[in-house]
Symmetry: C2
Subunit: 244 residues, 2 copies
DNA sequence: ATAATCCTCCAAGGAGCAATGGATTAATGG
DNA sequence: CCATTAATCCATTGCTCCTTGGAGGATTAT
């Protein structure tokens, strides 16, 4: 029994290592980005607005904890989540945090409070309407994330391009927008924009993360070596990028 | 977009608070105990073998993170998990840790390696055999935890009492033992002991934690004010208790 | 080879956290 | 009202972790 007390504390120490790896805003941001697509270090650094050295260090912590793994391709190193269970852990953490901490809930309500019920769509409804020909499904995440995995039949229009590509969206039918996850604000902004332009638009209540966790069908366009435009190292720290 | 970067980092800070609360072996031990039953501070301190002041401090961290809540009853204060989602988060953390860190897996194998497949039973099998009259289901956790919630029809024989109460267990039929969770070693030791005494015994592959998470039926014998035998404060630190 | 790119590793400071012991508050009982 | 039990609060000490800047390794292109 005294021995099992020992093993107990040791195994709890291992559990704590994993929790510790998630106990930092920067690392959570990296996990959030990686939950959508595989990415290289500089790309992550830009997206999270964190210096490269620090990004590398935090990725090492995540890898030592077994949460991410890496792959080399030429001079770049691509990181990805170690498995679906890690995605699930991240999602559960967010759910609890959202539910238990009023501060977090208030924050994610964003400007103008939560979306009205009339503006959201459930997963099941999306599944039913996928191929009816009357519904347009828009993935408003960055193209890299769309390429990694998206809902079959969805078209990719990143939020930044939505205003300029509004003409691609028919006025008559119904439009459904989705983004990364339940807490991601991209699709809500997309709905505002679409409605402001006379479309009948709603958003998926959750996002690609939950879609994947429920093992719903997904397509991907995996091209070897995502082409990331090279840019001078000096600019890395400055740009705030598409981090939301 | 720059604003959503701001909200992003703030909300990630909130998520990190929750993760940070779990990033400590002592607090994980407390969560583990609380996942089985509501308990007061001194009881927790004894079970986790941690000084009372420290226990109180760690419980405060857990409460500030929204993971536990408390209830006063006379001079004692009882803590419990804040909700099922917290239980789920803890279970997911353990699952990932177990799966990703070889060290954790090796540790929980305990003496003599993992239990052989022939010795474990699935939840479904237990459900089928519950009322067939030929199977004895034994809850080998401490009585407090049995009282809080147990599988219907199970009898309570804490592991410490199993050897002396062996005569209560019929020799002919089948015996199934279960304990706290998949990583808890109590039921495995119980199976060894039972087999050493000529019983045909197996263990549930998981435990009460997973049983509850899958919303399977549970009974409880909630008596107001769990009777915890008073003992001099000085002994608290010394005893190693039933912490495994 | 040499240079350039991308990333990791190393050292140092500063901030934050864990653990301890003693003092303080809250409730109960004589 | 005082004594006792139960738990929290507080201050201090030692330690770990975050962050940054620059040196060094690996890979590719010239």
């Amino acid at each position: 029994m005294s021995m099992s007390t020992h093993t107990m504390s040791t195994v709890l120490g291992e559990f704590a290592r994993v929790a510790k790896a998630m106990a930092n805003p920067v690392r959570l941001h990296l996990l959030d980005l990686l939950s959508q697509a595989e990415r290289n270090v500089e790309d992550l650094a830009v997206a999270a607005d964190v210096p490269i050295g620090n990004t590398s260090a935090q990725l090492k912590v995540l890898r030592d904890a077994g949460l991410v793994c890496s792959r080399r391709e030429g001079t770049r190193i691509f990181y990805r989540l170690a498995g679906e269970d890690v995605t699930s852990l991240y999602a559960t953490l967010r759910q609890v945090s959202q539910h238990r901490l009023p501060a977090a809930e208030a924050l994610s309500a964003g400007r103008g409070g939560t979306a009205r019920p009339a503006e959201v769509v459930t997963r099941e409804e999306v599944l039913r309407k996928l191929w009816d020909g009357k519904t347009v499904l828009i993935d408003v995440r960055p193209t890299v994330e769309y390429a990694s995995a998206h809902i079959p039949g969805a078209i990719s229009i990143p939020l930044e391009e939505l205003r300029s590509r509004m003409n691609e969206i028919p006025v008559g039918g119904e439009v459904i927008a989705y983004c990364r996850s339940a807490h991601c604000l991209l699709s809500r902004e997309a709905v505002w924009l679409l409605r402001a332009h006379g479309r009948c638009a709603r958003q998926l209540e959750e996002g690609m993360l939950e879609w994947r966790l429920h093992c719903l069908p997904a397509e991907s366009q995996l091209r070897r070596s995502h082409v990331v435009p090279a840019r001078p190292r000096a600019y890395v720290r400055a740009s705030s990028a598409q981090s939301a």
